[in-house]
C-alpha cells in the first residue's frame, strides 16, 4: 500500500510541474498587466469600454443560444431516431469543425452583401435599383457574427452531447417512462450537462478570443479593443489588463457552473449497461429530422464551401503547386505532433487530478486549461516573454556561444499549442472520466493494483474514445490556428492557415480560396475518422 501512495505522489508532482509550466505564459501576461497603463483606463471607461463589454456579452449569449439549439437538437435526433441518411448525417454534422470561422465570415460577406448574389437576385426579381429601395440585414453586424460563429461552433456541443446521450443507460429512461416523465428534459439533458457545458465553455472561449471574424465585421468586442489599445496607443500593459479582465470573467463563469454541479453524480453504477435503441422513422417525421440536421450543417459547411469553391475556380492559376503541397504536408505534421502532445499532457493531468481525489490538484489542473480564453496573439506574447526568460536563464548556465535557444523553434510553437488547446484535451478526458464509475478504480486499487497500473489498464481503456475525440479536436484546432502560428513560427515556416491569411488579409478572396479549401479538406479526414471511433463501441 505504501508503494502505491508513493507512486501517486510521483504523479502528483508531475501534474503540478506540467500545470505550472503550462500556466507560466499566462502568469507572464498577468505580470505585463501590472505595468503602467498610463491613465488609459479613465479614457477607456469614458468612451469605448462599455461598448466593448456589451458587444462581447451579446455576442457570447447569441452564439451560445444558437450553438446549443443547433448542437443539442441534432444530437438528440441522431441518437434517438434512425431514418434514411441518418448515418451520413452523423458524419456531416461534424464538418463545420474543419472550417475556420474567419474564412466562413469572408465567404458569407461576399455572398450576402449588397454586391453579392443574394441581394443581386432579390433586386433583379423585384426590379429594385439601389440600396435605398429596400432593407436587407447587413452581414457585417452583430447578428451576422452570431450567425457565422454559431454555424461553425455548434459541432463542439453536438459532439460532446451526442456522446453523452448515447452513453446514458436505458434503465434511466425506463424509470422515467414508468413515472410518465419526459425523457429529454428529466433524463438526457440533466445527465448530459457536464458534456454540454464542456462544449459550451469551448464555444464561449472561442467567441471571446475570436479576432478574425470580429475584425472583419468591425465589431467592437473586448478582443478588438485589446488591439486598439496595444497597437493604436502603443500600450501593451493596458492591452494585457483588458485581456486579463476578460480572462477572469470567463473563469468566473466556469466556476459558477462547476460549483452548481458539485456533489452531483453523472455516472451509472449498475452493471446492466444497455443503451437506448434508436427508433426507426419514415415519412414526414424523417423529413423534419433531416431538415433539423441539414440546416446547421449547410450554414456552417456546405454554403461557405460552395462560395469558396466558386471563388477558387476563378483563380486556379495563381499558386505554385509544389509550394502548396509542401505547406500541406507541413500542416499535417505539425498538427499531428501538437495533438499528440496535447493528449499526452492532458490525459496525465486529468486522470491524476481527477482520481487522486485531491481538491487542490484539480484546481491547479483546471487552471492549466484556461489558456483557451486568451486571444491567440496575447497568449503568443505571454509565451514569447516566458520563453525569452527561459533562454536568458539557459544563457547564465552556459559559457559557450552555441547554446540552444527555444525562441523561434518548433518546440516553442508546440508548447504554445499545448498552452492554448490544453482545454480541448483536458475537457474531453474529463468528460470521459465523469462518465466512468469510480467503483472500477477503487476495485482495482483494492485488488492491489498500483495507481499507475490502474490508470493504464482500467481508466485509459475505458475513456479511450474520449481521448481520441479530444485528440482529433485538438488536431483540427491547431490546423486552423492562425495568430499564434503567425507570430511564433520559425523562419519560412508556413501552414495552410498562415498561407491563406496573407491573401485573405488583403481581401484577395480568389487567391485565398484554394489554400482555405485545403484547410477544410485536411480537417475532413480526422473529422470523419472521429465519427467512426465514436460509433464503434470500445
Amino acid at each position: 500500500m505504501s508503494l502505491n501512495v508513493r507512486t501517486l505522489d510521483f504523479w502528483q508532482i508531475i501534474v503540478l510541474a506540467l500545470s505550472i509550466l503550462i500556466f507560466c505564459p499566462l502568469i507572464a501576461l498577468i505580470l505585463i498587466s501590472f505595468g503602467d497603463s498610463e491613465g488609459l483606463w479613465g479614457h477607456l471607461l469614458e468612451t469605448v469600454l462599455i461598448r466593448y463589454v456589451k458587444t462581447t456579452l451579446f455576442l457570447m449569449v447569441g452564439v451560445s443560444f444558437f450553438s446549443l439549439l443547433f448542437g443539442i437538437i441534432s444530437a438528440w435526433i441522431l441518437t434517438n431516431y434512425e431514418f434514411r441518411f441518418s448515418k451520413v448525417l452523423e458524419v456531416l454534422m461534424l464538418l463545420p469543425l474543419a472550417c475556420p470561422a474567419y474564412l466562413v465570415a469572408y465567404a458569407y460577406t461576399d455572398f450576402f452583401e449588397y454586391a453579392g448574389p443574394v441581394q443581386g437576385f432579390i433586386r433583379d426579381l423585384m426590379g429594385w435599383k439601389t440600396a435605398s429601395d429596400y432593407v436587407f440585414p447587413e452581414i457585417r453586424s452583430l447578428g451576422g457574427a452570431i450567425f457565422v460563429l454559431s454555424s461553425v461552433l455548434y459541432p463542439y456541443i453536438y459532439l460532446l452531447s451526442r456522446t453523452a446521450f448515447r452513453e446514458t443507460p436505458n434503465s434511466y429512461y425506463e424509470v422515467a417512462q414508468l413515472y410518465n416523465r419526459n425523457i429529454f428534459w428529466s433524463v438526457s439533458l440533466p445527465l448530459a450537462r457536464p458534456a454540454i457545458v464542456a462544449g459550451l465553455a469551448l464555444v464561449c472561449m472561442e467567441v471571446v478570443s475570436d479576432f478574425g471574424t470580429v475584425e472583419y465585421f468591425a465589431l467592437e468586442t473586448l478582443t478588438l479593443g485589446i488591439f486598439n489599445v496595444w497597437i493604436g496607443m502603443n500600450n501593451i500593459n493596458a492591452a494585457a489588463q483588458i485581456s486579463t479582465f476578460t480572462f477572469i470573467f470567463i473563469l468566473m463563469l466556469l466556476l459558477v457552473e462547476i460549483r452548481s454541479r458539485a456533489g452531483k453524480r453523472f455516472n451509472d453504477t449498475s452493471s446492466r449497461q444497455t443503451n437506448k435503441k434508436a427508433k426507426l422513422i419514415t415519412g414526414i417525421e424523417a423529413f423534419f429530422c433531416i431538415a433539423g440536421c441539414l440546416i446547421p450543417v449547410s450554414l456552417g459547411f456546405f454554403i461557405p464551401i460552395l462560395i469558396l469553391l466558386s471563388n477558387a475556380l476563378t483563380s486556379l492559376n495563381f499558386h505554385n503547386y509544389y509550394e502548396v503541397t509542401k505547406i500541406f504536408t507541413n500542416t499535417l505534421i505539425i498538427s499531428s505532433i501538437g495533438a499528440f502532445c496535447i493528449m499526452g499532457v492532458s490525459t496525465i493531468i486529468a486522470c491524476t487530478a481527477y482520481l487522486s481525489g485531491k481538491k487542490y490538484l484539480r484546481t491547479v489542473a483546471n487552471f492549466s486549461a484556461s489558456g483557451y480564453a486568451f486571444p491567440g496573439t496575447m497568449l503568443a506574447i505571454g509565451i514569447l516573454v516566458f520563453i525569452g526568460f527561459v533562454d536568458r536563464t539557459l544563457d547564465l548556465f552556459s559559457s559557450t556561444d552555441s547554446t540552444f535557444y527555444l525562441s523561434g523553434t518548433i518546440f516553442m510553437l508546440i508548447f504554445a499549442y499545448i498552452v492554448k488547446f490544453q482545454a480541448v484535451g483536458y475537457g474531453a478526458v474529463l468528460s470521459g472520466l465523469t462518465k466512468t464509475s469510480p467503483n472500477l478504480i477503487w476495485a482495482s486499487r483494492t485488488l492491489g493494483m498500483s495507481f499507475q497500473k490502474t490508470i493504464s489498464r482500467i481508466t485509459i481503456p475505458l475513456i479511450k474514445k474520449s481521448i481520441i475525440a479530444g485528440g482529433v479536436l485538438a488536431f483540427v484546432d491547431i490546423m486552423k490556428e492562425l495568430p499564434i502560428t503567425l507570430l511564433l513560427r520559425p523562419f519560412d515556416f508556413e501552414t495552410l492557415a498562415t498561407f491563406t491569411y496573407q491573401f485573405a488579409h488583403d481581401e484577395l478572396m480568389g487567391k485565398a480560396s484554394i489554400p482555405a479549401l485545403l484547410i477544410i479538406l485536411v480537417g475532413l479526414i480526422p473529422v470523419i475518422f472521429l465519427n467512426k471511433i465514436l460509433r464503434t463501441n470500445v
Partner: protein, 339 residues
Amino acid sequence: MNKFKILGLVLVLFLTSVNFLKSEELNIYSHRQPFLINPFLDEFTKKTGIATNVIYSTKGLAQRLRSEGKNSPADVVLTVDIGRLYIYQDMDLLSSIESKKLSKNIPLHLRSSDNTWFGLSKRARIIVTSKDRVKVGSIKRIEDLADPRWKGKICTRPGSHVYSRALMSSMIAAHGLENAEKWAGGLVSNLARRPQGNDRAQVKAIFEGQCDIAIINNYYFGKLKYSDKEDQRAWARSLNLVFPNQGENDRGAHVNISGGGVAKYSKNKHLAVKLLEFLTDEFAQKLYGEINFEYPVNPKVEATEELKSWGSFKEDKLPILTIAKLSRESQKIIDRVGW
C-alpha cells in the same frame, strides 16, 4: 514497433530541419505579406548571393524581437506605416547605422534622425469619388469631408485602423486637437454606413451606390484597375481620384511610408544594410511602383508611368515621425467620436 521507430525518425528529421539556419543568410521580420516582398528579395539574392529567410506576421513582431533580446536571429525589420516603425524605435530594437547611400537616397523627413529606421516607399491617402454622382472639383480638401452637405455619402474603414489613425494624426498636426476632433465628428456624422472593411471594400461600396465618397490609399486604385477580375476593374472605372489639399498655400496630401531598419542585435549588420540600400536603389524603387503602385522615396527615381497618369501631386512635408507620436491622441479622438 518498427512503425513507431520510423515515425520517430521522421519526426526528429522534421523537427531539426526547420531549426538550423546558416549564418550567411539574412533573417527578416516582415509586416508585409510574402507575396509582396518576395519579388524584391528574389532579385536581391540573385544580385548578391545572400539568401533570405522571412517571418511574416501582422502583429507582435516587435514583442517577439524584444523578448528574444540578444539571442534574436533577426537582422532586418520590414514594415508598413510609420506607427509601427516608431514602436520599434521606441522599444530600442533597431540599431543606428551609418550609410551614405541611405542618407542620399531618402529625404530627411522620411527617415529617423538617429538613423534607426528608413522610409522605403510612399503611399498617399487620397479621396475617391463616384464619377456619376459627385461633380469634379466639389471636394478638394480632406477637411471638406466634414461638410454637412455630404451627409450619408461617405464610406471609410474603421477609425482604429493604422491608416485612419495616421490621417487623424495629420489633422491634429495641421489644426490642433480641438479642431481635429470637430472634423472627425463631422466626418462620422456624414458616414453612409458603420465603418467596415478595407479600402477595397469602400470602392466597392461606391460602385454599388451605397455611398459616393471614400478615403483610400492610392495603391488600392491601381490594384483594382489591373485586377484579374472584371468586376473589380469596373469598380475602378467608376471612380475619380482627388489628391487632397493641393491648393497653392495648402499643406499637400497626407502620405505614409513603408520602411525598415536593422535589428539591434543583428549578427549580420553589414548584410542588413546592403538589403536596405538595395531597396532604395533605382531598381527596387521602380519595382515598388510596378508591383504595388507605391511612390519612390528616392528623389532621383521617377514614379512609374502608370502612377504619373493619375496626376502629380504635392505631398504633406510634415516630418513623418510626428504622425507616429500623435497616434495615441488620434486613437483617443477616434474612440470619442466613435469612428
